[in-house]
């Protein structure tokens, strides 16, 4: 049995879809961390079957928007004195600026690089966003975060 010590003060990112843990790990640059970090993959989960978990022994600033975009089902526990002090449930942001790029080659953002990529949520259940400029609809799983 693999055991990972509980943390005193820090953040637990839980209910990550199995396989997505590494994406978040990389996005948060946790490979360069000088504090204790655990990426635990393929943990049994009642809700998901299998899930990934990240434990961070430190208080860092998280960009909830981006985490929501990577996987809106993940939960974030803020830990103090080995207890969960705060649980954060993510949801898809209604407006996303400069996180995903428009993949429509006919879009003005493909040639004018100073233009911010702005997307509006059109379908929360399907995770669909519409580009402010060309109206192309992007599915989150296809979008590059």
């Amino acid at each position: 049995m693999l055991t990972i010590n509980s943390i005193k003060k820090g953040i637990v990112i839980d209910h990550i879809k199995a396989g997505c843990g590494i994406k978040i790990f990389n996005y948060l640059n946790l490979d360069k961390a000088d504090f204790r970090v655990a990426l635990i993959m393929n943990v049994e989960s009642q809700k998901l079957g299998k899930k990934d978990i990240i434990k961070i022994e430190n208080v860092i600033d998280l960009d909830y928007t981006v985490l929501g975009l990577i996987d809106p089902n993940i939960t974030i526990d803020i830990i103090e004195d080995e207890k969960i002090k705060n649980k954060i449930k993510l949801k898809l942001p209604s407006k996303v600026v400069d996180v995903i790029k428009c993949k429509n080659p006919r879009c003005i953002t493909s040639i004018e690089k100073y233009v911010q990529n702005v997307f509006y949520l059109v379908d929360e259940a399907k995770g669909e966003y519409r580009c402010q400029y060309c109206d192309e609809v992007h599915r989150l799983e296809e979008a590059k975060v």
Binding site: R106, C107, I108, Y114, Q132, Y133, C134
Partner: protein
Amino acid sequence: MLKGRHLIDPMDFSVEEIDSILDLADKIVENPEKYAHACDGKLMATLFYEPSTRTRFSFEAAMLRLGGKVIGFSEPNSSSVAKGESVADTIRTISCYADIAVMRHPKEGAPKVASLYSEIPLINAGDGGHQHPTQTLTDLLTIRSVKKTLSNLTIGLCGDLKFGRTVHSLIKSMSRYENNKFLLISPKELKVPDYIRKEVLEKKNIEFKEVERIEEVIDTLDILYVTRVQRERFFNEEDYVRLKDSYILDMKKMKMAKEDMIVMHPLPRVNEIAYEVDSDKRAYYFKQAKYGMFVRMALIMKLLG
């Protein structure tokens, strides 16, 4: 109030605002001389990043008939754009010289970007396959002038309904008026996109039907709006051969239609309307072009206040 506003997407204006433009256009049609000096001393810039002689002439004629003047380019190769100037910088510079600007651009969303940096009203004159709001205003003015209403109409849209932006805008605009019905006539490969069906028609509970042949519905229509179907849009030759004649409007089909139906087309046509139809009194596609100039006159006046 439309003074100082931009027109990028046909949905930028409310129904009331669109009606006010059409009302003014009607007045101009009745008495164009009265408006010959409405824009004296005003300057319009036409920024055409791709050539479109028809649309540019329509805007230029509109401004000149209002007494205003026009500057601009129709060949980006010969302007500072060729040196790599951004849309944002071009419009900021033009804002210093002109009172109103018109932009046509091959990239979708370019006029939207420009509008974020523009100090003067900006009109989208077509951005790639995306939006062409003044074509929609033209279509609305044509329908209203002939039918005296924009409600209670049965509208047939025929041809390439998948990529035809004028069709999408017309459906969105006409679905804002009461009790209109749509008959969507296209090969199955070229049906209207899902979002039009779901977000516009089904969401608003609007009556519509999708069919493959004009003959199935032409006798019920008040308006038949024809667009091009190109051979290369079909996925296989068999379907093309099977359907090709059903997308050409000829007198045989016109005989099945109502006496007061009108035929519209955003032009240019290729072969989807037979020349024999041109002399039928129900053919409105060339008159449509004239309405296009009048509606642009009204739009320019409104945006300049």
